[in-house]
C-alpha cells in the first residue's frame, strides 16, 4: 500500500536518511524501531510531505506522492500523528478536530460534522473536555486528540510517530488498544516506536532503522530472535 524506495533526506549538509526502503502492507501494522537520531521522524515527515527528499520515491496505493505537498498527501488518504502530538494549544478540543477535517469542510460540511460527533463518542476523554483548550489537556489526552485529529482527515493509512512517548504505562496500553482497534477497522498503520515490547504486541512486520539506513526487515518472530535487537531493544525480558 505504501512503498518507500531509496529515500534520501538532508538537513542542510546532514544526511538524515541515506537510502531507506520500507513498505507498509495494506491492512497491517508495520513498526519502525530505531535509536534516537536514527531518522524515524525524518522518514515519516518526508512521507507526509513536510520534508522534500533528495532522492528516492514514495508511492501510495500505486500513486507517486514523492513531491506532493502535505495537503495533497492528506487528500490522498495518508495522515501523520506527529511526534510530541503538536495539538493546537489555544484552540478547543472541538476546534482541533474541526481543523483535522479542514480539507473536507469545503466539500461536505455535514459529513465532517457527523464524523466529529462520532469521534467524540469514540474518545470519551475528549468528549468530557470538548470545550477546553487543548493546551490544558494531560499528555495522554493530547495524544488521543492528536490521533482523533488525524482520523478526522479520514485516512486509509495512518503514520504514527512515537505515540507512547512520555505516557504512563496504563495510558500506553490504551493507546495501543486504539491502534489495534483502528487496524481492525481497516486502517493501515505505520508505527514508529521505541517501546519494542509494546510494539511486539500489535505489529505484523518490523523494520529497524539505524543511522539513516534499514538495518533489519522481518516479521515479529524473526525480530524476537535477532540478536542485535534482543540486546538493544528487548533486554533480558525478551530472551
Amino acid at each position: 500500500m505504501l512503498e518507500v524506495q531509496g529515500l534520501v533526506t538532508n538537513y542542510g549538509m546532514i544526511e538524515a536518511l541515506k537510502g531507506v526502503d520500507i513498505s507498509a502492507a495494506e491492512g497491517r501494522i508495520t513498526c519502525v524501531l530505531g535509536p534516537n537520531g536514527a531518522g524515524k521522524t525524518t522518514l515519516l515527515m518526508t512521507i507526509a510531505g513536510l520534508l522534500r527528499p533528495r532522492r528516492g520515491s514514495v508511492t501510495f496505493e500505486g500513486r507517486d506522492i514523492t513531491a506532493a505537498s502535505s495537503a495533497a498527501v492528506v487528500h490522498q488518504g495518508l495522515a501523520l500523528v506527529p511526534e510530541n502530538r503538536l495539538v493546537f494549544p489555544d484552540m478547543t478540543v472541538r476546534e482541533n478536530l474541526v481543523a483535522g477535517a479542514y480539507t473536507r469542510l469545503a466539500r461536505n460540511r455535514g459529513e465532517a460534522m457527523a464524523d466529529l460527533d462520532r469521534m467524540l463518542e469514540r474518545f470519551p476523554v475528549l468528549n468530557a473536555r470538548v470545550n477546553a483548550n487543548a493546551g490544558t489537556l494531560s499528555g495522554g489526552e493530547q495524544q488521543m486528540l492528536a490521533v482523533a485529529r488525524a482520523l478526522m482527515t479520514k485516512p486509509r493509512c495512518l503514520l504514527m510517530d512515537e505515540p507512547s512517548l512520555g505516557l504512563a504505562p496504563l495510558i500506553v496500553a490504551e493507546v495501543f488498544n486504539i491502534i489495534r482497534e483502528l487496524n481492525e477497522d481497516g486502517v493501515t498503520i505505520l508505527l514508529v516506536e521505541q517501546n519494542a515490547h509494546m510494539a511486539l504486541t500489535v505489529a505484523h512486520h518490523f523494520f529497524l532503522l539505524d543511522q539513516g539506513l534499514v538495518a533489519f526487515d522481518g516479521d515479529p518472530g524473526a525480530m524476537a530472535e535477532d540478536e542485535v535487537i534482543q540486546r538493544a531493544y528487548l533486554g533480558s525480558a525478551g530472551g
Binding site: 502535505s70 495537503a71 492528506v74 503538536l86 494549544p89 484552540m91 481543523a99 479542514y102
Partner: protein
C-alpha cells in the same frame, strides 16, 4: 457645579476623544499583531500600506465623487491588494530562517510606498472625506464629535468582523492553526502559504480602513502620517502583547486616550514623549505586554 468639576471636564473630554481615535491605533495594532501571530515576523510596511490604501481611495473621491463610506471601503480594498503585494515581495520567497531579511525587505517596502505617495501627490496634503463631521452630540457636560463616533463605530464593526472570521469560520480555524502549530496545520491539509497570503490581505483591508479613518478624522491625508502611524502601531502591539488581538484593542484605546490627555496638558509637540514613556514603563515592568505570555514560540 464645583470648581473641581470645571477643572476635570476638559481632560475627561480629551480622554474620550482620544479613546475614540485610539480605535484606529487598535486596528493598526491588530494588523501588526496578527501577522506576527501567524508568521512570527514583523511587517514594518504595514502602516505605510494602510496610508497608501487611503491615498488610492482618493481616486474614488476625486474622480467619482463617491460618498465617504464608499471611499473608506475603497481604501480597505486597495490596502488589501497592497498587503498581498507586500507579502509576495517581502515574505513569500524569503526563507524562514532569515527573519532579518524579511524585516529589512519590509522596511524597504515602507520607504517605497512612502516615496510613491510623496511623488504622486507632490508631497501636498489632500482633502479627505469624513462622515457626520458637522454633528456634535451634546451629552452634558461632554460633547461627542460625530465624525469621531463614526470612526469608533466603523472600527468596532471591522474588529467584530475580524473576530467573527477568526473564531467562527473555516478560514479562521486555518489562520489560528497555522499561528499555533504550523507543522500540524500542514498535516491537517491547511496550506501555510495560502493562509499567510490571506492573513496579509485581511489585515491589509483592516489597515486600509484605519488609514481612511485617520484621513477622515483630520480631514486631510498627508504622507507624513505613515511613520508616526507605524510607530504608534508598534507601540500598541508591544503594550498589548505581541500576538494578542484583545491586547492590541485595549492598548490602542489606551494609547489613544493617553496621548490625547497629554496633548491637552502639554501640547501636540510634546505628547509623543509621554507615549514613549508609557512604552518604557511597559517594557520595564511588563515586557510581555498586557495580554502577552512570557514565552513566545512553542
Amino acid at each position: 457645579m464645583s470648581d473641581f468639576w470645571w477643572d476635570v471636564i476638559d481632560p475627561i473630554q480629551s480622554v474620550l476623544d482620544g479613546v475614540m481615535f485610539g480605535s484606529i491605533y487598535a486596528l493598526i495594532g491588530i494588523g501588526f499583531t496578527l501577522i506576527f501571530g501567524v508568521m512570527h515576523k514583523i511587517n514594518l510596511a504595514y502602516a505605510a500600506a494602510s496610508i497608501g490604501g487611503a491615498y488610492a481611495s482618493l481616486a474614488a473621491f476625486q474622480l467619482l465623487s463617491a460618498p465617504a463610506l464608499v471611499v473608506f471601503l475603497c481604501a480597505a480594498v486597495a490596502s488589501g491588494v497592497i498587503g498581498y503585494a507586500v507579502y509576495i515581495c517581502c515574505f513569500r520567497f524569503i526563507p524562514e530562517h532569515l527573519p532579518l531579511a524579511t524585516l529589512m525587505a519590509s522596511v524597504g517596502m515602507l520607504i517605497l510606498i512612502d516615496e510613491v505617495v510623496v511623488h504622486a501627490t507632490a508631497g501636498m496634503p489632500e482633502p479627505y472625506p469624513a462622515m457626520f463631521d458637522d454633528v456634535m452630540i451634546d451629552l452634558e457636560p461632554f460633547w461627542v464629535r460625530g465624525d469621531l463616533l463614526m470612526i469608533f463605530v466603523l472600527s468596532v464593526i471591522a474588529m467584530m468582523i475580524l473576530l467573527y472570521i477568526l473564531y467562527r469560520t473555516r478560514l479562521g480555524i486555518a489562520t489560528r492553526a497555522v499561528a499555533q502549530q504550523p507543522a500540524a496545520a500542514q498535516l491537517c491539509g491547511i496550506g501555510q502559504q495560502n493562509t499567510n497570503a490571506v492573513t496579509f490581505i485581511i489585515t491589509g483591508a483592516l489597515g486600509g480602513l484605519a488609514g481612511a479613518m485617520v484621513g477622515a478624522s483630520v480631514g486631510i491625508l498627508s504622507p507624513l502620517l505613515a511613520l508616526p502611524l507605524t510607530v504608534k502601531g508598534l507601540i500598541v502591539t508591544v503594550i498589548g502583547g505581541l500576538g494578542s488581538i484583545p491586547g492590541a484593542i485595549v492598548a490602542g484605546l489606551l494609547v489613544g486616550g493617553f496621548e490625547n490627555v497629554f496633548q491637552y496638558f502639554r501640547g501636540v509637540t510634546e505628547r509623543d514623549i509621554y507615549v514613549m514613556l508609557l512604552l518604557f514603563v511597559f517594557l520595564t515592568f511588563r515586557p510581555q505586554g498586557l495580554f502577552g505570555r512570557m514565552s513566545t514560540r512553542d
